[in-house]
Amino acid sequence: MLITTPVRERSQRELAYALMLPFMAAIGLVHLVLVLLSVILTANLVGVPMLALSVMAARGLGTANRRLSRAWAGVRVPDPGPFRAGPGLLNRLGAALGDVTGWRAVIHSLLRLPAAVVACAAAAGLWGGGLLLLGCPLWGQSSAMAHLSPPGWPVAALVSAAGLALLLLAPWGLHLALAPERMLARTLLGPGPGDTRIRRLEQARALAAEDAVARLRRIERDLHDGTAARLVTLAMSLGMAQDELEQADQPERLQRARVLVDSAHRSAKETVAELRDLIRGIHPPALDQGLEVALATLTARSPIPARFEADLPERPAPAIEAIAYFCTTELLANVVKHSGARHAAIEVRVRDGLLTLRVRDDGTGGAAIGTGSGLRGLAARVQTLDGMIDIHSPAGGPTVITVELPPHI
């Protein structure tokens, strides 16, 4: 194992990285001098565009360093966000001067100097020194080394053996010595903390927008295929009845009109019921009296007996209430449809600034995101408000699904 290490791929790459380091560090150093010069020159304005250019160059340098450390030093670091600026030169100038990614790359150039020295020294000492000592018996051949040549072969053999040991240890040593380099690349060349947050928010925003569109589309579909179709049928029945009533003196036409009016009457009542369901789907009126009332109503209507417990000392924000309500309807519907459970329990509480909603059932389990249970959509919707969803559903059950949300946005 120890013998094969030197030829292993990683150590070869790391050695190559260590050999490249002096050049990268030197370029970084030149760039640092430029940055410093620009900062000094900002006093007479020439430095301002210079500084902006330096920061942009730092971005480029950071990208190069990131790629090298990824390819040769095995550092896993994601790309930071792209450079963003409004139109116009001034906007670009301002954005460049305030570019966090660029400035982080500048800091990286500065801090990596000692790290590079450590790594280069380790590479030179371990690999170079090892090779040098290993070649001890040959020192006599070179005129420059002749006077260092050991007096006898036993000593020479000993020195050679020490060189071999050093070479065998070199891969581990270099890997260790590159640790600061790796750490710096990981912390300073990847996306900044703000970047990560922005990316998460962007994803959440996209999800929220898609969700809104999907919801509107569903409501439109329900209105179009359900309510509107029913109303057209109703109008048609009444129209036909009207037509029949024009000759109401004929008993069989009067009878037909009566049948038509009956059917229209039925149709009208069905439409009202359907509209009520639709309205409840858009915004349940019960939510106006708070989440607790709404969930109590919901669980009372559940086809599977459901226990309900609430501990809500304060009312969450309306948007949170709505989303908690919809989570519960979806989860309860899943229980009814998929779990085969005989009992369900719903708990909702706000404690320590966190709203926790828990839906349990004694069904067969096996609930997971992406099994057509709508949990993916639910998770997406919860995430848009910085919440999270935890699904615990081993095969054979029971299932416990926990949704956590901030009580206020």
């Binding site: 579909r221 179009h224 295929d225 509107a228 179709a229 029913r230 109303l231 057209v232 049928t233 109008a235 048609m236 029945s237 009444l238 129209g239 036909m240 009207q242 037509d243 037909r256 149709s267």
Partner: protein, 214 residues
């Protein structure tokens, strides 16, 4: 008349069947999607097909596409496209292949049973029936079109009413004009739109179609 109905809402489909059969028409097929409609038309060769625009599987415009295909493949079959909303783009596509035996109506028009049946008769006889709503939208939307540019605002007003199916008399009353001047405007419109006098009655519809195709 022999009729094929394509409508995906079961209730409405059945209602239509009932209405049409009670008026001594024969509903030879009642289907719920575009492919079935095309098959039914090919099989039965009806006098007219009543087609809902939005049907499964995509619930967008498969009915319209099927209607256009029927007009291309079976020119003798009249087509009434039937929708819950009016899209002038749809009307334009539908009429692109000519205005013979075609109609585009809002679904709620079925409530006025006599008008609806009359519309079916007219389409089957090769005439054109457009919903007043289509006309309103086109008049609102095509202000920029070249043909319309040649009309004076007053002529445009007259055309809008004409296209809604009002008689010259009714237009005169609504616009506080004399019957004679309405007639003059109408003639002027026909001339500007290049409609020859031989077309006679049909010219009123054709005038509207000019806009659709502009």
């Amino acid at each position: 008349m022999r009729i094929v109905i394509a409508e995906d809402a079961v209730m409405l489909r059945e209602g239509l069947c009932m209405l049409l059969t009670s008026r001594d028409h024969e509903v030879v097929a009642a289907v719920g999607d575009g492919d079935a409609l095309l098959a039914a038309v090919a099989e039965h060769g009806p006098d007219i097909a009543v087609v809902d625009v939005r049907m499964p599987p995509s619930h967008t415009d498969e009915g319209l596409r099927a209607a256009i295909q029927i007009r291309r493949d079976h020119p003798s079959v009249g087509v009434l496209v039937f929708s819950q909303y009016i899209e002038t783009r749809y009307a334009a596509q539908l009429l692109a292949g000519g205005a013979h035996g075609v109609g585009y109506l809002l679904k709620e028009r079925v409530a006025d049973v006599k008008d609806f049946l009359a519309a079916l008769d007219r389409i089957a006889a090769g005439q054109t029936v457009l919903d007043p709503e289509v006309v309103t939208q086109i008049m609102g939307a095509s202000r920029r079109t070249e043909t319309l540019g040649t009309l004076t605002p007053r002529e445009r007003e007259v055309l809008a009413m004409m296209a809604e199916g009002r008689s010259n008399n009714a237009i005169a009353v609504a616009l506080f004009l004399s019957y004679g001047s309405v007639e003059k405007h109408v003639t002027q419109i026909f001339t500007k739109l290049g409609l020859s006098p031989s077309d006679n009655d049909h010219r009123r519809v054709l005038a509207v179609l000019r806009y659709l195709q502009a």
